[in-house]
Protein backbone atom coordinates (compact mmCIF):
# COMPACT_ATOMS: atom_id res chain seq x y z
CA UNK A 1 0.00 0.00 0.00
CA UNK A 2 2.64 2.39 1.10
CA UNK A 3 4.76 1.49 -1.86
CA UNK A 4 1.91 2.35 -4.16
CA UNK A 5 1.55 5.77 -2.61
CA UNK A 6 5.25 6.36 -3.06
CA UNK A 7 5.19 5.30 -6.66
CA UNK A 8 2.19 7.50 -7.35
CA UNK A 9 3.91 10.40 -5.68
CA UNK A 10 6.99 9.80 -7.77
CA UNK A 11 4.97 9.78 -10.96
CA UNK A 12 3.11 12.91 -9.93
CA UNK A 13 6.26 14.85 -9.14
CA UNK A 14 7.89 13.73 -12.37
CA UNK A 15 4.85 15.13 -14.15
CA UNK A 16 5.20 18.40 -12.25
CA UNK A 17 8.82 18.69 -13.30
CA UNK A 18 8.02 18.06 -16.94
CA UNK A 19 5.24 20.63 -16.75
CA UNK A 20 7.50 23.28 -15.25
CA UNK A 21 10.23 22.63 -17.79
CA UNK A 22 7.72 22.74 -20.63
CA UNK A 23 6.11 25.89 -19.29
CA UNK A 24 9.46 27.50 -19.00
CA UNK A 25 10.54 26.69 -22.53
CA UNK A 26 7.20 27.87 -23.84
CA UNK A 27 7.60 31.09 -21.89
CA UNK A 28 11.02 31.76 -23.37
CA UNK A 29 9.90 31.10 -26.92
CA UNK A 30 6.71 33.08 -26.45
CA UNK A 31 8.61 35.93 -24.88
CA UNK A 32 11.35 36.11 -27.47
CA UNK A 33 8.91 35.50 -30.31
CA UNK A 34 6.50 38.14 -29.07
CA UNK A 35 9.18 40.79 -28.66
CA UNK A 36 10.70 40.11 -32.05
CA UNK A 37 7.47 39.72 -34.04
CA UNK A 38 5.76 42.67 -32.43
CA UNK A 39 8.83 44.84 -32.84
CA UNK A 40 9.47 44.10 -36.48
CA UNK A 41 5.80 43.64 -37.32
CA UNK A 42 4.84 47.11 -36.17
CA UNK A 43 7.87 48.76 -37.68
CA UNK A 44 7.78 51.11 -40.61
CA UNK A 45 10.70 51.54 -42.92
CA UNK A 46 11.60 55.03 -41.70
CA UNK A 47 12.11 53.65 -38.19
CA UNK A 48 15.22 51.87 -39.37
CA UNK A 49 16.74 55.05 -40.70
CA UNK A 50 19.79 56.73 -39.27
CA UNK A 51 17.92 59.94 -38.50
CA UNK A 52 16.05 61.46 -35.60
CA UNK A 53 12.92 59.53 -36.44
CA UNK A 54 14.61 56.13 -36.71
CA UNK A 55 16.65 54.01 -34.36
CA UNK A 56 19.65 53.64 -36.64
CA UNK A 57 21.66 56.12 -34.63
CA UNK A 58 20.79 54.40 -31.38
CA UNK A 59 21.82 51.11 -32.91
CA UNK A 60 25.13 52.59 -33.96
CA UNK A 61 25.63 54.12 -30.51
CA UNK A 62 24.96 50.77 -28.85
CA UNK A 63 27.50 48.94 -30.96
CA UNK A 64 30.05 51.74 -30.74
CA UNK A 65 29.69 52.06 -26.98
CA UNK A 66 30.09 48.33 -26.42
CA UNK A 67 33.07 48.31 -28.76
CA UNK A 68 34.71 51.14 -26.80
CA UNK A 69 34.00 49.41 -23.51
CA UNK A 70 35.56 46.17 -24.73
CA UNK A 71 38.64 48.02 -25.95
CA UNK A 72 39.07 49.07 -22.34
CA UNK A 73 37.89 46.02 -20.45
CA UNK A 74 39.33 43.18 -22.56
CA UNK A 75 43.04 43.94 -22.11
CA UNK A 76 42.65 44.94 -18.47
CA UNK A 77 40.36 42.01 -17.68
CA UNK A 78 42.65 39.48 -19.36
CA UNK A 79 45.70 40.86 -17.60
CA UNK A 80 43.88 40.76 -14.28
CA UNK A 81 42.84 37.17 -14.97
CA UNK A 82 46.43 36.28 -15.83
CA UNK A 83 47.54 37.89 -12.60
CA UNK A 84 45.13 35.74 -10.63
CA UNK A 85 45.94 32.52 -12.47
CA UNK A 86 49.72 32.81 -12.77
CA UNK A 87 51.13 35.42 -10.43
CA UNK A 88 48.96 35.76 -7.32
CA UNK A 89 50.23 33.68 -4.41
CA UNK A 90 47.59 32.15 -2.20
CA UNK A 91 47.30 34.38 0.80
CA UNK A 92 45.38 37.17 2.41
CA UNK A 93 45.83 39.65 -0.43
CA UNK A 94 44.62 37.18 -3.04
CA UNK A 95 41.66 36.28 -0.87
CA UNK A 96 40.83 39.95 -0.57
CA UNK A 97 41.26 40.37 -4.33
CA UNK A 98 38.74 37.62 -4.93
CA UNK A 99 36.23 39.24 -2.61
CA UNK A 100 36.81 42.55 -4.42
CA UNK A 101 36.07 40.95 -7.78
CA UNK A 102 32.97 39.32 -6.38
CA UNK A 103 31.87 42.67 -5.01
CA UNK A 104 32.47 44.30 -8.35
CA UNK A 105 30.47 41.66 -10.16
CA UNK A 106 27.49 41.90 -7.86
CA UNK A 107 27.33 45.70 -7.68
CA UNK A 108 23.99 47.06 -8.90
CA UNK A 109 24.64 48.60 -12.28
CA UNK A 110 22.93 51.81 -11.25
CA UNK A 111 25.52 52.23 -8.50
CA UNK A 112 28.31 51.81 -11.03
CA UNK A 113 26.48 54.33 -13.22
CA UNK A 114 26.43 56.84 -10.38
CA UNK A 115 30.11 56.28 -9.74
CA UNK A 116 30.79 56.88 -13.41
CA UNK A 117 28.64 59.99 -13.35
CA UNK A 118 30.59 61.39 -10.43
CA UNK A 119 34.06 60.52 -11.68
CA UNK A 120 33.77 60.81 -15.45
CA UNK A 121 31.16 63.57 -15.77
CA UNK A 122 30.97 65.75 -12.65
CA UNK A 123 34.65 65.64 -11.75
CA UNK A 124 35.83 66.31 -15.28
CA UNK A 125 33.14 68.90 -16.08
CA UNK A 126 32.13 66.99 -19.17
CA UNK A 127 28.76 66.71 -20.69
CA UNK A 128 27.24 63.26 -20.93
CA UNK A 129 29.26 61.25 -23.42
CA UNK A 130 29.71 57.83 -24.95
CA UNK A 131 33.19 57.37 -23.56
CA UNK A 132 32.01 57.74 -19.96
CA UNK A 133 29.25 55.26 -20.70
CA UNK A 134 31.82 52.87 -22.16
CA UNK A 135 33.93 53.21 -19.01
CA UNK A 136 30.93 52.41 -16.81
CA UNK A 137 30.07 49.34 -18.91
CA UNK A 138 33.75 48.35 -18.85
CA UNK A 139 33.69 48.35 -15.04
CA UNK A 140 30.66 46.07 -15.16
CA UNK A 141 32.24 43.60 -17.58
CA UNK A 142 35.72 43.53 -16.00
CA UNK A 143 34.95 40.88 -13.38
CA UNK A 144 33.38 38.58 -15.97
CA UNK A 145 36.36 38.83 -18.31
CA UNK A 146 38.87 38.48 -15.50
CA UNK A 147 37.24 35.40 -14.01
CA UNK A 148 36.74 33.66 -17.38
CA UNK A 149 40.39 34.32 -18.19
CA UNK A 150 41.47 32.89 -14.87
CA UNK A 151 39.28 29.82 -15.32
CA UNK A 152 40.51 29.36 -18.87
CA UNK A 153 44.14 29.45 -17.71
CA UNK A 154 43.48 27.12 -14.81
CA UNK A 155 41.78 24.56 -17.02
CA UNK A 156 44.83 24.23 -19.28
CA UNK A 157 46.93 21.14 -18.70
CA UNK A 158 49.93 21.81 -16.52
CA UNK A 159 52.14 20.19 -19.13
CA UNK A 160 51.93 23.20 -21.48
CA UNK A 161 53.51 25.39 -18.91
CA UNK A 162 56.04 22.80 -17.80
CA UNK A 163 57.03 22.10 -21.38
CA UNK A 164 57.62 25.72 -22.16
CA UNK A 165 59.39 26.59 -18.92
CA UNK A 166 61.48 23.44 -19.27
CA UNK A 167 62.82 24.80 -22.53
CA UNK A 168 64.03 27.95 -20.92
CA UNK A 169 61.13 30.23 -21.74
CA UNK A 170 60.27 32.89 -19.20
CA UNK A 171 56.84 32.96 -17.60
CA UNK A 172 55.93 35.93 -19.78
CA UNK A 173 56.94 34.13 -22.97
CA UNK A 174 55.09 31.03 -21.82
CA UNK A 175 51.93 33.01 -21.12
CA UNK A 176 51.93 34.99 -24.34
CA UNK A 177 53.02 32.31 -26.78
CA UNK A 178 51.58 29.11 -25.32
CA UNK A 179 48.98 29.63 -22.61
CA UNK A 180 47.09 32.62 -23.99
CA UNK A 181 46.56 31.10 -27.47
CA UNK A 182 45.44 27.84 -25.86
CA UNK A 183 43.03 29.67 -23.56
CA UNK A 184 41.77 32.03 -26.25
CA UNK A 185 38.56 30.22 -27.27
CA UNK A 186 37.27 30.25 -23.71
CA UNK A 187 38.25 33.86 -23.17
CA UNK A 188 36.52 34.84 -26.39
CA UNK A 189 33.36 33.11 -25.18
CA UNK A 190 33.51 35.25 -22.06
CA UNK A 191 34.07 38.41 -24.08
CA UNK A 192 31.07 37.62 -26.27
CA UNK A 193 28.90 37.17 -23.20
CA UNK A 194 30.20 40.47 -21.83
CA UNK A 195 29.37 42.18 -25.11
CA UNK A 196 25.85 40.73 -25.04
CA UNK A 197 25.34 42.14 -21.59
CA UNK A 198 26.77 45.47 -22.63
CA UNK A 199 24.21 45.83 -25.41
CA UNK A 200 21.35 45.68 -22.93
CA UNK A 201 22.88 47.81 -20.21
CA UNK A 202 20.86 50.89 -19.41
CA UNK A 203 20.99 51.75 -15.73
CA UNK A 204 24.73 52.39 -15.81
CA UNK A 205 24.34 54.64 -18.83
CA UNK A 206 21.50 56.83 -17.58
CA UNK A 207 23.86 59.39 -16.10
CA UNK A 208 26.95 58.69 -18.16
CA UNK A 209 26.15 58.26 -21.86
CA UNK A 210 23.17 60.56 -21.75
CA UNK A 211 19.73 60.33 -23.24
CA UNK A 212 20.12 62.21 -26.46
CA UNK A 213 21.82 61.62 -29.74
CA UNK A 214 22.57 63.88 -32.62
CA UNK A 215 24.68 62.52 -35.43
CA UNK A 216 25.50 64.24 -38.63
CA UNK A 217 26.55 61.43 -40.90
CA UNK A 218 28.31 63.72 -43.31
CA UNK A 219 30.61 65.10 -40.64
CA UNK A 220 33.77 63.09 -40.13
CA UNK A 221 35.67 65.58 -38.06
CA UNK A 222 36.36 63.66 -34.87
CA UNK A 223 36.23 66.78 -32.74
CA UNK A 224 32.78 67.74 -33.94
CA UNK A 225 30.02 67.04 -31.41
CA UNK A 226 27.88 65.51 -34.14
CA UNK A 227 30.51 63.24 -35.66
CA UNK A 228 29.42 59.63 -35.32
CA UNK A 229 32.84 58.41 -34.23
CA UNK A 230 33.51 61.16 -31.70
CA UNK A 231 33.42 59.29 -28.39
CA UNK A 232 32.94 62.52 -26.44
CA UNK A 233 29.43 63.21 -27.63
CA UNK A 234 26.23 62.15 -25.88
CA UNK A 235 24.93 58.88 -27.26
CA UNK A 236 21.60 57.33 -26.45
CA UNK A 237 21.64 53.55 -26.86
CA UNK A 238 18.78 51.23 -27.77
CA UNK A 239 18.24 50.23 -24.16
CA UNK A 240 18.11 53.85 -23.05
CA UNK A 241 15.71 54.57 -25.86
CA UNK A 242 13.32 51.97 -24.47
CA UNK A 243 13.62 53.44 -21.00
CA UNK A 244 12.94 56.89 -22.38
CA UNK A 245 9.76 55.73 -24.10
CA UNK A 246 8.18 54.46 -20.88
CA UNK A 247 6.27 57.58 -19.94
CA UNK A 248 7.03 60.47 -22.16
CA UNK A 249 4.95 60.09 -25.24
CA UNK A 250 7.58 61.68 -27.41
CA UNK A 251 5.64 61.13 -30.55
CA UNK A 252 2.75 59.14 -31.85
CA UNK A 253 5.03 56.29 -32.80
CA UNK A 254 7.05 56.18 -29.53
CA UNK A 255 5.57 52.82 -28.59
CA UNK A 256 6.35 51.23 -31.94
CA UNK A 257 9.86 52.64 -31.80
CA UNK A 258 10.41 51.15 -28.36
CA UNK A 259 8.97 47.85 -29.57
CA UNK A 260 11.39 47.87 -32.45
CA UNK A 261 14.30 48.77 -30.17
CA UNK A 262 13.37 45.85 -27.92
CA UNK A 263 13.21 43.53 -30.89
CA UNK A 264 16.58 44.63 -32.24
CA UNK A 265 18.17 44.30 -28.81
CA UNK A 266 16.62 40.88 -28.40
CA UNK A 267 18.01 39.71 -31.72
CA UNK A 268 21.46 41.06 -30.86
CA UNK A 269 21.46 39.37 -27.48
CA UNK A 270 20.16 36.08 -28.86
CA UNK A 271 22.73 36.11 -31.63
CA UNK A 272 25.57 36.72 -29.19
CA UNK A 273 24.34 34.12 -26.72
CA UNK A 274 24.06 31.57 -29.50
CA UNK A 275 27.53 32.44 -30.73
CA UNK A 276 28.94 31.96 -27.25
CA UNK A 277 27.16 28.63 -26.94
CA UNK A 278 28.38 27.35 -30.27
CA UNK A 279 31.91 28.31 -29.31
CA UNK A 280 31.65 26.66 -25.94
CA UNK A 281 30.23 23.55 -27.52
CA UNK A 282 33.16 23.47 -29.92
CA UNK A 283 35.62 23.82 -27.07
CA UNK A 284 33.99 20.97 -25.16
CA UNK A 285 34.00 18.76 -28.25
CA UNK A 286 37.65 19.49 -28.97
CA UNK A 287 38.57 18.68 -25.41
CA UNK A 288 36.69 15.42 -25.76
CA UNK A 289 38.61 14.51 -28.86
CA UNK A 290 41.90 15.05 -27.16
CA UNK A 291 41.05 12.88 -24.22
Amino acid sequence: MRNKVNLAKDKFMTGVFYAVAGFFLLLLFAFAGYVIIKGFGGAKLYMFSFTRSGIGNQFFNTVYLVFLSLVISVPIGIMAGIYMAEYAKEGKITKFLRICIETLSSLPSIVVGLFGYLVFIVATHQQWNLFSGALAVAILSLPLIATTTEDAFRSLPDSYKKGSIGMGATLRQTIITVLLPAAAPRIITGVILAAGRGFGEAAALLYTAGMSTDINWSSWNLASPTCALNPFRPGETLALNIWASRTEALGADATQIANLSSAVLMVMVLAFSLLAHVLEHRIRRNMGEKA
Partner: protein
Protein backbone atom coordinates in the same frame (compact mmCIF):
# COMPACT_ATOMS: atom_id res chain seq x y z
CA UNK B 1 68.12 9.75 -38.84
CA UNK B 2 67.04 6.96 -41.13
CA UNK B 3 64.11 5.37 -39.45
CA UNK B 4 64.28 2.02 -41.11
CA UNK B 5 67.67 0.90 -39.95
CA UNK B 6 66.96 1.90 -36.40
CA UNK B 7 67.18 -1.62 -35.14
CA UNK B 8 70.45 -2.32 -36.85
CA UNK B 9 71.73 0.93 -35.56
CA UNK B 10 70.68 -0.05 -32.09
CA UNK B 11 72.82 -3.14 -32.28
CA UNK B 12 75.77 -1.13 -33.45
CA UNK B 13 75.15 1.24 -30.63
CA UNK B 14 75.16 -1.57 -28.22
CA UNK B 15 78.62 -2.55 -29.30
CA UNK B 16 79.73 1.00 -29.20
CA UNK B 17 78.19 1.44 -25.84
CA UNK B 18 79.88 -1.59 -24.43
CA UNK B 19 83.17 -0.54 -25.88
CA UNK B 20 82.59 2.88 -24.47
CA UNK B 21 81.79 1.44 -21.12
CA UNK B 22 84.99 -0.50 -20.99
CA UNK B 23 86.94 2.62 -21.90
CA UNK B 24 85.16 4.58 -19.24
CA UNK B 25 85.65 2.00 -16.57
CA UNK B 26 89.33 1.90 -17.36
CA UNK B 27 89.38 5.64 -17.07
CA UNK B 28 87.60 5.51 -13.76
CA UNK B 29 89.91 2.89 -12.39
CA UNK B 30 92.79 5.04 -13.32
CA UNK B 31 91.12 8.01 -11.63
CA UNK B 32 90.97 6.24 -8.34
CA UNK B 33 94.65 6.28 -8.04
CA UNK B 34 95.00 9.61 -9.75
CA UNK B 35 94.25 13.12 -8.56
CA UNK B 36 90.46 13.65 -8.51
CA UNK B 37 90.62 16.87 -10.53
CA UNK B 38 91.51 14.91 -13.62
CA UNK B 39 88.08 13.32 -13.68
CA UNK B 40 86.31 16.67 -13.58
CA UNK B 41 86.46 16.93 -17.33
CA UNK B 42 84.05 14.08 -17.88
CA UNK B 43 81.57 15.25 -15.27
CA UNK B 44 78.63 17.31 -16.44
CA UNK B 45 76.97 17.64 -13.08
CA UNK B 46 78.61 17.49 -9.74
CA UNK B 47 76.21 17.31 -6.81
CA UNK B 48 77.39 17.51 -3.22
CA UNK B 49 75.38 17.08 -0.02
CA UNK B 50 72.11 18.06 -1.64
CA UNK B 51 69.20 18.34 0.77
CA UNK B 52 65.70 19.25 -0.31
CA UNK B 53 62.67 19.89 1.86
CA UNK B 54 59.04 20.30 0.81
CA UNK B 55 57.71 22.10 3.84
CA UNK B 56 58.41 19.60 6.60
CA UNK B 57 59.02 16.68 4.25
CA UNK B 58 62.66 15.81 3.76
CA UNK B 59 62.60 14.72 0.10
CA UNK B 60 66.31 14.44 -0.67
CA UNK B 61 68.88 13.55 1.96
CA UNK B 62 72.57 14.32 1.52
CA UNK B 63 72.71 13.31 -2.10
CA UNK B 64 76.16 13.45 -3.67
CA UNK B 65 76.61 12.28 -7.23
CA UNK B 66 78.69 13.07 -10.31
CA UNK B 67 77.02 12.69 -13.67
CA UNK B 68 79.16 11.84 -16.69
CA UNK B 69 79.25 13.81 -19.91
CA UNK B 70 77.95 12.11 -23.07
CA UNK B 71 76.56 9.18 -21.19
CA UNK B 72 73.17 8.00 -20.06
CA UNK B 73 72.61 8.01 -16.34
CA UNK B 74 69.52 6.20 -15.12
CA UNK B 75 67.79 7.10 -11.86
CA UNK B 76 65.80 4.22 -10.44
CA UNK B 77 63.88 3.54 -7.26
CA UNK B 78 60.33 3.02 -6.01
CA UNK B 79 57.68 5.75 -6.33
CA UNK B 80 58.25 8.64 -4.01
CA UNK B 81 61.94 7.85 -3.55
CA UNK B 82 62.99 11.30 -4.75
CA UNK B 83 64.38 10.41 -8.18
CA UNK B 84 62.05 12.76 -10.07
CA UNK B 85 62.58 15.45 -7.47
CA UNK B 86 66.29 15.06 -7.94
CA UNK B 87 65.94 15.28 -11.71
CA UNK B 88 64.07 18.56 -11.37
CA UNK B 89 66.82 20.07 -9.27
CA UNK B 90 69.17 19.72 -12.24
CA UNK B 91 67.39 22.41 -14.26
CA UNK B 92 65.53 24.18 -11.47
CA UNK B 93 62.10 23.08 -12.62
CA UNK B 94 61.16 23.03 -8.95
CA UNK B 95 61.53 26.81 -8.70
CA UNK B 96 57.79 27.05 -9.20
CA UNK B 97 56.83 24.76 -6.38
CA UNK B 98 56.00 26.43 -3.15
CA UNK B 99 57.53 25.79 0.23
CA UNK B 100 60.65 24.21 -1.19
CA UNK B 101 64.07 24.53 0.46
CA UNK B 102 67.31 23.44 -1.15
CA UNK B 103 70.72 23.13 0.51
CA UNK B 104 74.02 21.84 -0.79
CA UNK B 105 75.76 22.21 -4.06
CA UNK B 106 74.69 21.38 -7.61
CA UNK B 107 77.26 22.29 -10.24
CA UNK B 108 76.94 22.23 -13.99
CA UNK B 109 80.39 22.33 -15.58
CA UNK B 110 81.74 23.61 -12.32
CA UNK B 111 79.17 26.40 -12.09
CA UNK B 112 76.83 26.49 -9.10
CA UNK B 113 73.28 26.35 -10.50
CA UNK B 114 71.55 27.59 -7.36
CA UNK B 115 73.84 30.56 -7.30
CA UNK B 116 72.45 34.05 -7.79
CA UNK B 117 74.69 34.46 -10.80
CA UNK B 118 72.96 31.58 -12.58
CA UNK B 119 69.97 32.61 -14.60
CA UNK B 120 67.40 29.79 -14.41
CA UNK B 121 66.15 30.66 -17.90
CA UNK B 122 69.62 30.19 -19.40
CA UNK B 123 70.09 27.07 -17.32
CA UNK B 124 66.95 25.49 -18.78
CA UNK B 125 68.14 26.38 -22.25
CA UNK B 126 71.26 24.36 -21.57
CA UNK B 127 69.50 21.60 -19.67
CA UNK B 128 66.37 20.56 -21.55
CA UNK B 129 63.64 18.32 -20.25
CA UNK B 130 61.34 15.62 -21.64
CA UNK B 131 58.31 14.74 -19.56
CA UNK B 132 56.46 11.60 -18.61
CA UNK B 133 53.39 12.49 -20.64
CA UNK B 134 54.20 13.72 -24.13
CA UNK B 135 53.25 17.38 -23.89
CA UNK B 136 53.24 19.04 -27.28
CA UNK B 137 51.78 22.53 -27.29
CA UNK B 138 48.40 22.94 -29.00
CA UNK B 139 50.19 24.27 -32.07
CA UNK B 140 51.35 22.86 -35.37
CA UNK B 141 54.20 20.35 -35.52
CA UNK B 142 56.41 23.02 -37.05
CA UNK B 143 55.54 25.61 -34.43
CA UNK B 144 56.24 23.13 -31.67
CA UNK B 145 59.78 22.53 -32.82
CA UNK B 146 60.34 26.16 -33.74
CA UNK B 147 59.06 27.30 -30.35
CA UNK B 148 62.40 27.27 -28.55
CA UNK B 149 64.40 29.01 -31.28
CA UNK B 150 61.66 31.61 -31.59
CA UNK B 151 61.61 32.53 -27.92
CA UNK B 152 65.34 32.90 -28.28
CA UNK B 153 64.85 35.48 -30.99
CA UNK B 154 65.25 33.49 -34.18
CA UNK B 155 62.54 34.54 -36.60
CA UNK B 156 64.10 34.08 -40.01
CA UNK B 157 62.13 31.48 -41.87
CA UNK B 158 65.05 29.80 -43.63
CA UNK B 159 66.91 29.51 -40.36
CA UNK B 160 63.89 28.05 -38.59
CA UNK B 161 63.19 25.63 -41.43
CA UNK B 162 66.70 24.32 -41.14
CA UNK B 163 66.47 23.91 -37.37
CA UNK B 164 63.11 22.14 -37.59
CA UNK B 165 64.33 19.73 -40.23
CA UNK B 166 67.51 19.00 -38.34
CA UNK B 167 65.72 18.39 -35.04
CA UNK B 168 63.06 16.17 -36.56
CA UNK B 169 65.72 14.25 -38.46
CA UNK B 170 67.70 13.78 -35.29
CA UNK B 171 64.74 12.08 -33.62
CA UNK B 172 64.01 10.10 -36.76
CA UNK B 173 60.58 11.38 -37.68
CA UNK B 174 61.42 13.90 -40.38
CA UNK B 175 60.24 11.61 -43.19
CA UNK B 176 56.90 11.01 -41.48
CA UNK B 177 56.43 14.65 -40.60
CA UNK B 178 57.74 16.64 -43.50
CA UNK B 179 54.41 16.66 -45.34
CA UNK B 180 52.30 17.50 -42.33
CA UNK B 181 54.34 20.16 -40.58
CA UNK B 182 51.40 22.54 -40.59
CA UNK B 183 49.06 20.03 -38.93
CA UNK B 184 48.31 20.11 -35.23
CA UNK B 185 50.77 18.22 -33.08
CA UNK B 186 47.87 16.94 -30.99
CA UNK B 187 46.86 14.64 -33.86
CA UNK B 188 50.02 12.54 -33.57
CA UNK B 189 50.28 9.19 -31.82
CA UNK B 190 51.77 9.08 -28.33
CA UNK B 191 55.12 7.79 -29.55
CA UNK B 192 55.31 10.42 -32.28
CA UNK B 193 54.35 13.12 -29.80
CA UNK B 194 57.09 12.09 -27.44
CA UNK B 195 59.68 12.15 -30.19
CA UNK B 196 58.35 15.51 -31.28
CA UNK B 197 58.85 16.73 -27.73
CA UNK B 198 62.41 15.48 -27.79
CA UNK B 199 62.92 17.25 -31.12
CA UNK B 200 61.49 20.39 -29.56
CA UNK B 201 64.11 20.12 -26.85
CA UNK B 202 66.92 19.42 -29.33
CA UNK B 203 65.97 22.43 -31.43
CA UNK B 204 67.59 24.74 -28.91
CA UNK B 205 70.79 22.63 -28.83
CA UNK B 206 70.95 21.88 -25.13
CA UNK B 207 73.92 20.21 -23.51
CA UNK B 208 71.89 17.95 -21.28
CA UNK B 209 68.52 16.26 -21.73
CA UNK B 210 66.62 15.25 -18.64
CA UNK B 211 64.00 12.58 -19.25
CA UNK B 212 61.32 11.97 -16.65
CA UNK B 213 59.96 8.49 -17.34
CA UNK B 214 59.68 9.35 -21.03
CA UNK B 215 58.26 5.99 -22.07
CA UNK B 216 55.88 5.18 -19.24
CA UNK B 217 52.90 6.44 -21.25
CA UNK B 218 53.93 4.64 -24.46
CA UNK B 219 53.45 1.23 -26.06
CA UNK B 220 56.39 -1.21 -26.31
CA UNK B 221 57.30 -0.36 -29.91
CA UNK B 222 57.35 3.38 -29.27
CA UNK B 223 59.30 2.69 -26.10
CA UNK B 224 61.92 0.82 -28.04
CA UNK B 225 62.24 3.63 -30.54
CA UNK B 226 62.71 6.18 -27.78
CA UNK B 227 65.36 3.99 -26.18
CA UNK B 228 67.23 3.67 -29.47
CA UNK B 229 66.98 7.38 -29.88
CA UNK B 230 68.38 8.01 -26.41
CA UNK B 231 71.38 5.83 -27.17
CA UNK B 232 71.93 7.67 -30.41
CA UNK B 233 71.60 11.06 -28.73
CA UNK B 234 74.13 10.40 -26.01
CA UNK B 235 76.90 10.85 -28.52
CA UNK B 236 76.13 14.52 -28.55
CA UNK B 237 74.26 15.09 -25.33
CA UNK B 238 74.41 14.12 -21.71
CA UNK B 239 71.26 12.27 -20.75
CA UNK B 240 69.75 11.71 -17.33
CA UNK B 241 66.72 9.48 -17.33
CA UNK B 242 64.28 8.58 -14.58
CA UNK B 243 62.70 5.19 -15.14
CA UNK B 244 60.54 2.66 -13.40
CA UNK B 245 61.56 0.05 -15.87
CA UNK B 246 64.52 -2.00 -14.68
CA UNK B 247 65.12 -3.54 -18.10
CA UNK B 248 65.16 -0.11 -19.62
CA UNK B 249 67.77 1.12 -17.20
CA UNK B 250 69.77 -1.99 -17.83
CA UNK B 251 69.45 -1.74 -21.60
CA UNK B 252 70.36 1.85 -22.20
CA UNK B 253 72.21 3.41 -19.31
CA UNK B 254 75.91 3.64 -18.64
CA UNK B 255 75.49 4.40 -14.99
CA UNK B 256 72.64 3.79 -12.62
CA UNK B 257 71.70 5.52 -9.40
CA UNK B 258 69.35 3.84 -6.98
CA UNK B 259 67.27 6.10 -4.74
CA UNK B 260 65.27 5.06 -1.72
CA UNK B 261 63.31 7.34 0.64
CA UNK B 262 65.23 10.38 -0.51
CA UNK B 263 68.66 8.82 -0.18
CA UNK B 264 71.08 7.81 -2.89
CA UNK B 265 71.65 4.19 -1.87
CA UNK B 266 73.99 3.07 -4.58
CA UNK B 267 75.54 4.58 -7.69
CA UNK B 268 77.83 3.00 -10.18
CA UNK B 269 78.24 1.40 -13.55
CA UNK B 270 74.96 -0.09 -14.70
CA UNK B 271 76.51 -3.52 -15.18
CA UNK B 272 77.81 -3.47 -11.62
CA UNK B 273 74.53 -2.34 -10.15
CA UNK B 274 72.58 -5.00 -11.95
CA UNK B 275 75.05 -7.87 -11.77
CA UNK B 276 76.52 -7.47 -8.35
CA UNK B 277 74.91 -4.73 -6.31
CA UNK B 278 76.80 -3.90 -3.19
CA UNK B 279 73.80 -2.85 -1.16
CA UNK B 280 71.17 -5.31 0.01
CA UNK B 281 68.32 -2.88 -0.67
CA UNK B 282 69.48 -2.33 -4.22
CA UNK B 283 69.53 -6.01 -4.79
CA UNK B 284 66.06 -6.45 -3.36
CA UNK B 285 64.74 -3.68 -5.52
CA UNK B 286 66.23 -4.76 -8.83
CA UNK B 287 65.26 -8.33 -8.29
CA UNK B 288 61.74 -7.10 -7.80
CA UNK B 289 61.26 -7.99 -4.17
CA UNK B 290 59.74 -4.59 -3.41
CA UNK B 291 58.92 -1.35 -5.15
Amino acid sequence: MRVNDNTIRADEDLYEMQADRIDKSLEKDADHTDDSTASRVSEKFSVKDLNLHYGTFHALKDVSIDIDTNAITALIGPSGCGKSTFLKTLNRMNDFEEGIKIEGSVQLDGQEIYDRAMNPIELRQRVGMVFQQPNPFPKTIYDNVAYGPRIRGIHKKSELDEIVEKALTEVGIWDEMKDRLKKSALGLSGGQQQRLCIARTLAVSPEVILMDEPTSALDPISTMKIEDLAMELKKKYTIVIVTHNMQQANRISDKTAFFLLGELIEYGKTSDIFLNPKNKKTEEYITGRFG
